[in-house]
């Protein structure tokens, strides 16, 4: 990169786990339910209630942690993180402090400069807070609080500061989203808040002063309120440039270690981060173990069982698609894998019937667009894999050109017919050798002079005969076959 600094980013991602109920009570977690309709004494934090851990939430957490190559703690507990905010009715959040259930993993991402390994510091289970809506009039009216989300199970995944560009941050998030969707842990819908991201950003600058050259680091800024993958990238880019300017104005003091970490909000409309004032002291959450919850112990057998149930992960899938018998390019493998396991299974079926390269081309050129247009998933798509495979084979056999094959495809899609029927109904009759020979003989009849010229050594003269045959087939005959048969026929004629 051509910047005078190196971007250093660590991401904290919260994903909502796909459970039916909350982490510690049996309230539902349906998105968009009427305000305060999914609450009970436990998630409202009434005195004397007893939270009990949702087994499915813990299992999903375990799945995610193992897919992220994390170590699983054999003993884990929950702690109270104390702070006051209107959307946190208990005045503490149940989270994990010093003994998270998983730690030290990694996620490999494919960047423009090759594969990169992003370390995962930890992944832990915690409960979500409610939602406050502030008075937008500016008159300081009351805020409205909806506690439906309170107690929803979240997995917090903390990356190491291994991310080196805005683009890599976006790639990491896309890969994480794909992985978690594939293993059924979270739907990762950012618009619905089931994937949220905070970015810790600072930069390293090669700085020359009177004391010589050094690498200067800027203070950390944590950017919050990032609600799309694109905005994560834009916020990081903006914040890095802002920090570079801040450093140039005050290279002595705008330094890591001299100022505490601050938080910033991302204003998508204005395309800028808004940094809050630097604080004197770090937030003090007075963590302590939650006495209402008992510890969880995980056995090696449980870990093995979850590992076995994960299935093929996206990174493994990419590797497999690039190897024989598929031998796809890294790009094609990435594109297919990015569409999910069902798409890859469909591809494999088409590829087995036809060939991998054509199958991949048909998917990326036609099927993806059709699915988008029809708002369908691949398993709802009316052209099933064997039919698409057949279309590809027919196309190759009959020498049907691309545009015509597209017509066949559209007809198959619109009328729900198989490839052979569609080709037939469109009048694209297959030209086998007998039909072609008929046409060739007629063309020779009608172009006697050209054929004789050819025989006398004018090679170009035969183009005319060839053109006549091609016209007769309406572009449906395979040119190489026609040429071959024509040459054979002409050879039989006495000069």
């Amino acid at each position: 990169m051509n910047t005078p600094y190196q971007i250093i980013v660590g991401l904290e991602v919260h994903v909502q786990l796909m459970t039916k109920t909350k982490l510690f009570c049996s309230c539902k977690t349906v998105f968009g339910a009427p305000p305060n309709s999914q609450v009970c004494p436990i998630c409202l934090g009434m005195p004397g209630v007893l939270p009990v851990m949702n087994e499915q939430a813990f299992q999903l957490g375990l799945r995610a942690a193992l897919a992220l190559n994390c170590q699983i703690a054999n003993f884990t507990k929950w702690d109270r993180k104390n702070y006051y905010y209107p959307d946190l009715p208990k005045n503490y959040q149940i989270s994990q402090y010093d003994l998270p259930f998983s730690y030290e993993g990694y996620l490999d991402i494919d960047t423009s400069s090759g594969s990169r390994r992003i370390g995962i510091i930890r992944a832990h289970l915690e409960e979500d807070a409610g939602k406050s809506m502030h008075d937008e009039s500016g008159r300081g009216g009351d805020s409205k609080v909806d506690l439906n989300r309170t107690g929803t199970p979240l997995l917090e995944i903390v990356s190491k500061p291994d991310i080196r560009s805005a683009e890599d941050a976006e790639t990491y998030l896309r890969e994480l989203r794909l992985l978690l969707r594939e293993i059924g842990v979270s739907d990762c819908e950012m618009q619905e808040g089931s994937l949220r991201c905070d970015a810790n950003v600072n930069i390293h600058i090669l700085y020359s002063s009177d004391n010589g050259e050094e690498i200067a680091a800027t203070p950390l800024v944590e950017i919050k309120n990032l609600n799309s993958i694109g905005s994560v990238g834009r916020a990081i880019q903006y914040e890095a440039e802002r920090q570079y300017e801040a450093f140039q104005k005050d290279p002595k003091n705008y330094r890591f270690g001299k100022l505490l970490k601050t938080t910033a909000g991302w204003n998508e409309a204005r395309g800028m981060t808004q940094v809050q004032r630097h604080k004197e002291e770090a937030a003090d959450y007075r963590y302590f173990p939650d006495p209402d919850l008992v510890p969880v112990v995980v056995t090696a057998e449980q870990i093995e069982e979850v590992k076995r149930s994960l299935g093929e992960l996206p990174s493994q899938q990419r590797t497999r698609l690039q190897a024989a018998p598929f031998s796809l390019s890294a790009y094609d493998a990435q594109v297919l894998t990015g569409q999910g396991r069902k798409m890859v299974a469909y591809f494999e079926e088409v590829a087995k019937i036809s060939d991998p390269k054509s199958a991949c081309n048909w998917l990326t050129n036609e099927v993806f667009a059709s699915l988008k247009e029809r708002s369908e998933e691949i398993d709802q798509f009316p052209i099933r894999a064997p039919q698409l495979g057949e279309l590809i084979n027919e196309m190759k056999q009959l020498g049907i050109k691309r545009e015509k094959a597209r017509d066949v495809y559209q007809k198959m899609l619109a009328e729900n017919v198989d490839a052979k029927t569609a080709i037939d109904q469109l009048g694209y009759k297959p030209f086998d050798d007998n039909l072609l020979l008929d046409l060739i003989r007629k063309a020779i009849e009608g172009n006697r002079k050209a054929v004789l010229d050819y025989k006398k050594g004018n090679e170009k003269a035969l183009d005319r005969v060839f053109g006549t045959v091609m016209r007769e087939t309406k572009g449906m005959g395979r040119p190489d076959r026609i040429k071959q048969l024509l040459l054979e026929e002409v050879a039989k004629i006495e000069a």
């Binding site: 109920t21 009427p34 851990m53 009351d142 506690l147 809050q276 173990p289 006495p291």
Partner: protein
Amino acid sequence: MDIRDIRKVARLARLEMSEAELETMTRQLTSILNYVDQLQELDTSNVEPLAHPLPLQNVFRPDVPGESLSVEEALRNAPVRAGQFFAVPAVLDPADDLSH
């Protein structure tokens, strides 16, 4: 423990205390902490840390939805409400937002 620590802890717990109360608290908390110091003299190098006083682990609940409160019931203790929402005074300084 001096009075500044007590003031800080009181602020974190959102407790308002008079100077006299702060002084009493300083005295009492100091004596509690001294007692804990006394406990720390015990050699515990061969004792596993205790995460929970009960000898229980892996207590789970199946992921099956149950009854929630009605909205009316949920809001019954709210000092102020706005339609189906709890209404709370606006948070004045976003920089004081201690949320995670």
